[in-house]
Subunit: 449 residues, 2 copies
C-alpha cells in the first residue's frame, strides 16, 4: 500500500473537527460521518446508511453478502474530545502533522486513526471482484466522547445488528510497545451529583457563624465519610458485589512489566500511590471499584474575601465499577449511603447523571486465537490479556448478540488520549491495517458461519 | 428640623452608587466623599480634607476649635456593598424610596444613613455663632466594605487623630426594636485559602482511579479534619486563647429576649442550630471562634460528566476570632494545623488573604453613661451591652489613642444589610440625630477635656 496516499486520506478525516460534546461542532460531526460513508461507498459496500437518533448519527455499512461465511462487526467512533488547552499543542489539533514517525492530531489514535485501520484492512482483503472473504459490518458512532444514546437506542431496538460471529472494538491499545493486548474487562461508571441544602439563603459568617449549618461543611464531611483514609469506599454491599479476577488473569498480570516507581513518576506524576494496599496497583485500577470527587460547587470561590455561609453545595462524583456492579444498582446504594450519612438538618439529593456497566470478555473463544496469530505474524508477539480501568459503555450492547467482543487496538500508552498533542505512531497504523487484514482473512477460513 | 428637607438631603447621598469593591464605581466613591466634604464645609468646619492613600480616600473634618472642651471622633463609612441580585429590589437601590415609614436604598443603614445622623446631630448643636459646644472630628472612610487599607495606614502614621476623648462608631444597631445597644465586643477575622496539589496534571479517573491521589479528596478530608462533628475546631492552642465573656456580660445576655426557635426559623432559615452545645447560641455567635468553609475550587463543576481526578484544589475558609486571638497568630496556627493534617504526598499551602483583630470595649467609661442617658431621653430605654459576631477591623486602630470607643447606632435587626431591599426606619434616623445631639451636648459638659 502507498503509505503517503494512506496518510493523505487519513489526514482528510483527522482535519474535520468532530468534537461531539460541543454543539457548535454538530455539523462537523455530520461531515466526519459523511466522509466515512463516502469511503464505504467507494469500497463497494451495498449498504451504507446513517442511523439517526437524538444526537449525532451512527454510520452503518455492510460489505457485499458472502453466503456461508462468518460476519465480523467492526466498532469505532468518529467523534473526538475537545482540544483545550489549545496553546499546549505543538501543531494545531486539526492540522495533522508527522514528527519523528508520529502523527499528531486530535483523534489520531482515539479513534479516527483506528477506524481508518479497520477501513483499510477491509480494503486490503477485497478480491479483484470487489468482494471480501467474509462479511464485514461497520458501526462507527459519533457520541463515544459525549455519552450520547443514539447507538444504544438503535442496538436495543435492532438486536439483529449484533447477531454476528465476532465484534472488533478498535478503540484500545498495546499494553506496552511491542506488547499487543486484548482486554478481558472494562470498568463501568456511575456518575452522580450530590446536592446538599442546609439553609434557605446564604448567611453572613459574622452574624451566624457558630450556629448556622454550613452546606459546604456538611457536604465535605459527607464526602470524607464516603471513603475511609485507607481507600475503602463506605457504601454497604459494594465490595460484596466485586467479582475478583480469575487466577489466570492474576497470573498474567504478575508477569506484565510494571514498575510502580516509573508509573508513579511518569504517568501519575504524584509522590505516592493511594488506595487499598492489600491489592496491587494494577488490580486497584483494573478490578476494584473507585470513588472519586471531581469538583465541588457552591458558596464563593472568586477573588477576595467574601464571608458567606453557603446555603447549598454540590459535588460531582463518580464510581468506577467492576464486574457484578451494575450501575443502576450502585446508584441506588450510593443514594442510600448518602442519605444515611447526612445529618438530619440537611436536605440531600443524589442525581444520577450517567452510567455504564462493567464488562467481562471471555477470551477463550477461537476468534481470540485468530487475533493472536495475526498480531504474532505482524508485530512478532501474541496479545497479553489485560483489563482497562476506563469504561466503554456500549460494549455490553455489542455483547448482546452473544458474539465474542475483541477489545483491542494499536494505541501506545503515551499517545495522550484526551490531552494536547494526541498522537499515533505511524508504524502502528500500518501494523494495524495488516493485523486486521490478516484477522479477516484467517477468520473467514476458521470462524463459525 | 424639617424632616422632608432632611430626607431630600440624605437621598442625594444615597443616590450615589459608591460601591467600593467594584473598580467601575471608583469615581462614585469620590463623588460620595465630595458630597460629604461639601456638607462639612457648609457647616463651617475649618478643616475638611481628603486623606489619600492606595484606594478610596478618607474624609476628615474638624469643627472649629473650642479650647478646654473634649473632643469626640465620629467614625462612619460612605461606601456601600454591591447590589446584586438586582431583580430582588422592590425599588432600585440607588433611587431611595420611602414605603410604610421605611427608607429603602443601598446604604440606607450601612452606613450612609448613620453617617447622616452624626452630621445632622453636629449641625443641631451648633450655636448661633456656628460653634459647637465641644470639638467634633469626623473620619468617614470609603473602604469598609472592601477591606481597603487607607484608613489603617493613615491612623498608624498619624496617631494624633485618635488622641481624643471618645470615639463614636455609628455603624451598628439596636438589639431589638426599642432596645438600643452598645457593643462590648466584636469578633475578628482570619480569612485564608488552603491550596492542595497531589499531581502534576489532572488525570482520567478510568485509567488512574484507585491509585492516583485526588487533590479534591485530600482537601475534603483536610477540611473535615479541621473541625469535629461537634463543632470543635481542631487547631491547637485556639481555645486556650479564648477570653471568656465577663460575668456581667453573661448575666446581661441571659436577660435578653432571645427565642431560639424563632431565631432558627426567621433568621437562620435552617432546621437546626449547630455548634458547641455546651454554650448558648448567643455565646457561640458572639464569644467563640468559628471555622467556616466558603467555597471550593478545582476539578470540574460544569454540566455533564467529566471524569477528572483533579491535580489541585483550593478552599476559601475563614475563622472568626474572639478576644485574645490575634489574626496573625491564628493564621500561623491554621497553617501549622493544615501542614500537620495533610498527607505526605500532598503539597499544601495556606495563603492568608485578610484579617482583623477581635475587639473588646470596656463600657465602664463615663462616656457610656452619657450615651445611655441620651438614648433614655430620646428612645425611652438605656442601652443593653451586647456583642456582635461580625468584624470591624478598623476598631482596634480607633482604640489606639486610648479613648473609649462607643460601638452603637440606630439600625434594626431586620434592616437587610448587604441584602436586596436594605432599609432604615425613618423614625430611627430622627431618633439617631437627637441621641447623638444630646450626646454631644452632655459630653461637652461632662467629658474630660
Amino acid at each position: 500500500m502507498d503509505h503517503d496516499k494512506l496518510l493523505a486520506e487519513l489526514n482528510q478525516f483527522l482535519a474535520i473537527p468532530s468534537i461531539s460534546t460541543l454543539p457548535a461542532h454538530a455539523q462537523d460531526c455530520r461531515r466526519a460521518a459523511g466522509w466515512l460513508m463516502e469511503q464505504f461507498r467507494a469500497l463497494g459496500c451495498p449498504v451504507v446508511e446513517l442511523l439517526e437518533g437524538d444526537g449525532h448519527p451512527v454510520v452503518w455499512a455492510e460489505s457485499p453478502r458472502i453466503e456461508g461465511k462468518p460476519t465480523v462487526l467492526c466498532y469505532g467512533h468518529y467523534d473526538v474530545q475537545p482540544v483545550d488547552p489549545l496553546d499546549e499543542w505543538v501543531s494545531p489539533p486539526f492540522e495533522p502533522t508527522v514528527r519523528d514517525g508520529k502523527l499528531y492530531a486530535r483523534g489520531a489514535v482515539d479513534d479516527k486513526g483506528q477506524v481508518f485501520t479497520l477501513l483499510k484492512a477491509y480494503q486490503s482483503v477485497l478480491g479483484k471482484d470487489g468482494k471480501p472473504p467474509l462479511n464485514v459490518h461497520f458501526i462507527i458512532e459519533g457520541e463515544e466522547e459525549c455519552g450520547g444514546r443514539v447507538i444504544f437506542d438503535r442496538l436495543r431496538a435492532e438486536p439483529e445488528r449484533t447477531a454476528v460471529d465476532a465484534v472488533i472494538v478498535a478503540d484500545m491499545g498495546y499494553y506496552a510497545p511491542g506488547m499487543p493486548a486484548v482486554y478481558t474487562g472494562l470498568r463501568g461508571l456511575c456518575y452522580a451529583e450530590i446536592h446538599v441544602r442546609t439553609l434557605q439563603r446564604d448567611l453572613h459568617s459574622g452574624s451566624y457563624g457558630g450556629v448556622a449549618p454550613n452546606a459546604m461543611e456538611t457536604l465535605v464531611r459527607l464526602l470524607a465519610d464516603l471513603k475511609s483514609r485507607s481507600g475503602k469506599i463506605n457504601i454497604p454491599k459494594l465490595y460484596k458485589a466485586v467479582e475478583p479476577p480469575t487466577k489466570a488473569e492474576r497470573k498474567a498480570w504478575k508477569g506484565l512489566p510494571f514498575d510502580e516507581r516509573e508509573f508513579l513518576k511518569d504517568e501519575v506524576t504524584g509522590k505516592a500511590l493511594v488506595g487499598l494496599k492489600q491489592y496491587s496497583a494494577l488490580e486497584r485500577t483494573w478490578a476494584l471499584p473507585t470513588f472519586e470527587i471531581h469538583g465541588i460547587r457552591g458558596g464563593f470561590t472568586g477573588e477576595g474575601a467574601k464571608t458567606v455561609i453557603p446555603a447549598q453545595a454540590m459535588a460531582k462524583v463518580s464510581l468506577r465499577l467492576v464486574p457484578n456492579q451494575e450501575y443502576e444498582k450502585v446508584g441506588k446504594w450510593l443514594t442510600r449511603a448518602v442519605k444515611d450519612l447526612a445529618p438530619k438538618y440537611a436536605e440531600v439529593e443524589v442525581k444520577l447523571l450517567h452510567g455504564g456497566n462493567p464488562v467481562l470478555c471471555d477470551v477463550s473463544h477461537p476468534a481470540f486465537t485468530v487475533l493472536d496469530e495475526a498480531f504474532e505474524a505482524v508485530a512478532g508477539a501474541r496479545t497479553v490479556p489485560v483489563r482497562a480501568g476506563g469504561s466503554i459503555p456500549v460494549v455490553p450492547e455489542l455483547q448482546r448478540g452473544g458474539a465474542p467482543v475483541l477489545l483491542t487496538g494499536i494505541g501506545l500508552p503515551d499517545d495522550g488520549l484526551h490531552s494536547p498533542n494526541e498522537k499515533v505512531t505511524v508504524q502502528q497504523l500500518w501494523d494495524g491495517i495488516e493485523v486486521f487484514g490478516k484477522f479477516f482473512t484467517r477468520f473467514a477460513e476458521r470462524g463459525a458461519a
